[in-house]
Amino acid sequence: MTAGRTEASARAPVPERSRRARGLSLAALVAILAALCALSVAIGTRAIPWADIVAALENQVLGGQVDNIGQAAVAVRIPRTLLALLAGAALGLAGAIMQGVTRNPLADPGILGVNMGASLAVAVGIAWFDISSAHAYIVAAILGAGVSAVFVYVIGSLGRGGATPLKLALAGAATSVAFSSLVIAVVLPRADIAGGVRSWQIGGVGGATFDRIFHVLPFLAAGFAIGLLSARRLNSLALGDELAAGLGERVAMARAVAALGAVLLCGATTAICGPIGFLGLVVPHLGRLLVGVDHRWLLPFSALGGACLLLAADIVGRIIARPAELDVGIVTAFVGAPVFIWMVRRQRVHEL
């Protein structure tokens, strides 16, 4: 019953937070996000004076001429920032939804193999079905994400005790490993796309353009809408299936709809960024520390927090590896994996 909550929250009942405190942390998060956006435009592998940054921003808005390389660099950073923002929000929200739907604190689109499933579907689509439009990529990725989510959930819930957190995580991790070697097998013989083998394994927001973002926007919007609207249902589900049913919730339906939202978000994100892991794991837990377990607050917080974290990770990736840059998926793995390990340690292991 309490599988969906962390041990800490199960031990000590979370005090009801006042609207004001929540509102304040919301405002703080928005401020941080704005600051990170500014940093993300200003900081990069190339140091650029303020004048050029301002000029480039003006160009972006007013459609002027790009004068020098500095302004050109900033012009690339703007869509990149936007993509990091959207992808982070999508993954954070998807993680929170998945943790709510499965009532599993270890759920995350990366760990559950959903991102790798999307990646594999795109690879198969390119290599075998010659899909080439951005739309086809996104649809393939969403299909792949959906299929692998169902697949992992079925594998993880076989046997006694249903889908326990550890079984689900194990099934997801195994599926992830399996899919990632299948991706290599599919991509490698195609010399034209194989150059990017790494980009199939590690996600990044480097190659962002406004064009690609526009293609994915409708899917993300649908995902955000479905996700945020299922907050109340997720609250009922958190009480346990019987109680939720007793409150008049159609449990299976609620699960399916919320999961659909998460799948849309992960699939669309993976289609343009590649698989980015661990973000959806970390962010909702931070969110719970800040605003408690009420999904009506938790979901928007996870979205904002995810955007902040991905932007921060992307900025860090640009700074520490100068003059090259680090894919954001590498940074999130280094931030997220320790959290994952810490959470695994906290879980009581009944299985063995």
């Binding site: 594998i155 993880g156 076989l158 046997g159 006694r160 005790g161 550890l166 079984k167 995580a169 194990l170 099934a171 991790a173 195994a174 599926t175 490993v177 399996a178 899919f179 070697s181 299948l182 290599i184 097998a185 490698l188 013989p189 194989a194 150059g195 083998v197 790494r198 394994q201 590690i202 892991g277 661990f278 590896a321 090259a324 680090l326 894919d327 998926g329 590498i330 793995a333 280094f334 994996a337 320790p338 994952f340 390990i341 695994v344 340690r345 879980q347 292991v349 299985e351 063995l352």
Partner: protein
Amino acid sequence: MLLSPTLDSIIDNRRRRARRRSLVIGVLAVLLVAMFALTLLLGQSFTPPEDVIRVLLGEQVAGASFTVGQLRLPRAVLSILAGLSFGLGGVAFQIMLRNPLASPDIIGISSGASAAAVFAIVVLSLKGPLVSVIAVAAGLGVALLVYALSFRNGVAGMRLILVGIGVSAMLDSFIAYVLSRAPAWTLQEAMRWLTGSVNGAQLSDALPLVLAVVAFGGLLASRARDLDALKLGDDTAAALGVGVVRTRVMVIVAAVGMIASATAVAGPIAFVAFLSGPIAARIMENNGSLLIPSALIGAMLVLAGDYCGQFLLPSRYPVGVVTGALGAPYLIFLIVRANRTANSP
């Protein structure tokens, strides 16, 4: 008088099992030799057996000296050695932790060795045996780390595996990072460190691996009986007179040593360590120690996987991709089965 018929039947039964065991191991060994011979004879073109034998004896044969001596032989030798190491190291871990999922390539030890090897080669510009030494040290370090991190009132198998998965996620990112920083890095070379490959094998690479197989394999073989006793559980093993901690430490050192040495040369060839043990168990039907059969099967997997990857598939794949594609469905099958039989490992 009363006991003798039973005793006879027991003795008879034991003899039969021992005979069957040596028969199966013999068949496996013969198969391995046959595959070795096939890979030497038949590549892009067929080389007559007498030419191959003359090359092996050190004679110069026009054409064959290069294809067999320089290309096929080093590749086959390296495949066999790496396969032996992966098979042995993997099954040792699986037996010791009583869980088929606890193989070194899943709990992060291969990733650790691979990360160290990549770091040593790309960043420190090292070569040869030193890389193996560093890889072995890193493999041991990762094993220790995973064990320590999953220790909480004892080590539960499931927790160890998940902690290992987390650690290997970080190590894999590290590998990707180092590879991305190395500009003059061809795809084929990168594949070696991502999934394992024996492309461009040289006989000189085999030397550290031979030493590792002899030293660590010997150590492991000397512990084979104690290791088998560990299968019954720590308490039972202790009651049978096995020094549990000592055995465990020695087995970890030996198994990690083999895995890491092989990884330093051929990369973390996907799933060989994971697959060999369960296949051996299926073939041996609970008949004695799995160490030798599993080593033979590991060698066969790598040899056959590399041959498939080179010649039988529509395009050329490194061996790790072939074994990876083979191992992935099995991994999922194993999880399904482990979940269904609730309490089993």
